[in-house]
């Protein structure tokens, strides 16, 4: 069963690359495949890189504004 942890949105605004992705990865670690993690990111480099890193590691990443939803793969 998938769990929506959207109420624990990780606010990573102001956290620079690659530390934002490090924090997102650590938050993903205990989750089960199919679980979702929501991140708030700075526009620009962060919003470009973090979803791409997530996809590179086999997760799904949906971007809506500065909000990114990662579904663990």
């Amino acid at each position: 069963m998938s769990v929506d942890v959207s109420d624990t949105t990780l606010d990573l605004r102001g956290v620079i690359c690659p530390l934002n992705w490090v924090k997102a990865r650590l938050a993903l670690e205990p989750l089960e495949p199919g679980d979702a993690l929501r991140l708030r990111l700075d526009p620009g480099e962060a919003l470009e890189n973090v979803p791409r890193s997530a996809r590179d590691e086999g997760h799904r990443a949906d971007v809506a504004g500065d909000l990114v939803t990662i579904v663990k793969g």
């Binding site: 690659p18 924090k23 990865r25 650590l26 670690e29």
Partner: protein, 258 residues
Amino acid sequence: MTLSEAELERYSRQLVLPEWSGGAQERLRDASAIVVGAGALGSPAATYLVAAGVGRVGVVDSDAVELSNLHRQPLHFTPDIGGGKAESAAAKLSLLNTEATVEPYPVRLEEMNAAAIVAGADVVVDCSDSFSTRYLVNDACCGERVPLVEAGVLAFSGLVMSIRPGESACYRCAFPTPPPEGSVPSCREAGVLGAMAGIVGSIQALEALKLLTGVGEPLLDRILQLEGASMDQLIVTTRRRDNCPACAQVPATAAVGA
């Protein structure tokens, strides 16, 4: 205990590795390593273990720093000449990573203290420079069931193998008898380039990190041979001997979960 903000930043470039994880980093922090020898191999090996976040690193060496050491032992600096190598190494390593506990062991590893030195460690990295010490370290690690990274370097040639006692070939399985006394020149006679020792010691650190975290595939039952002059590399497979006096009776060690 989770990783602190400072740890996240310090280790961020390895924490972004797809193969790595917070769990791997925490395993390193909880781990204890012994580096036997603070010389040409021990300098890079201990440096990368401490830098990567191994929580406790003991450095065993009874020698004093000499001028002729400095070209290949970059943990020691010119003002350290005459002082103890274990203390010189520990001082630099403690500054490199303030999260780590670095303990100097200013003693010579011998038959009577080998087991006590390696007991309780999660990995031993053998950076000693003599065959007799290498067999002592191997036998003590087999007896105490401590995973071990063995290596040697001479001139432009290097050799590395990792050992999980009871599971993979030990040094004595691969090399049952030491070479006859005097048949292999020592580094004092044959010479060695610091950069070559640096490569081999760095490989030892990488192997130890793999053994500690479960990430990657250590050189178990495999011996890596490097020729620095040509950059030829060769992996020779080896296996346990049923009659090995060091490891035949040793039950398998618990593997580290990824």
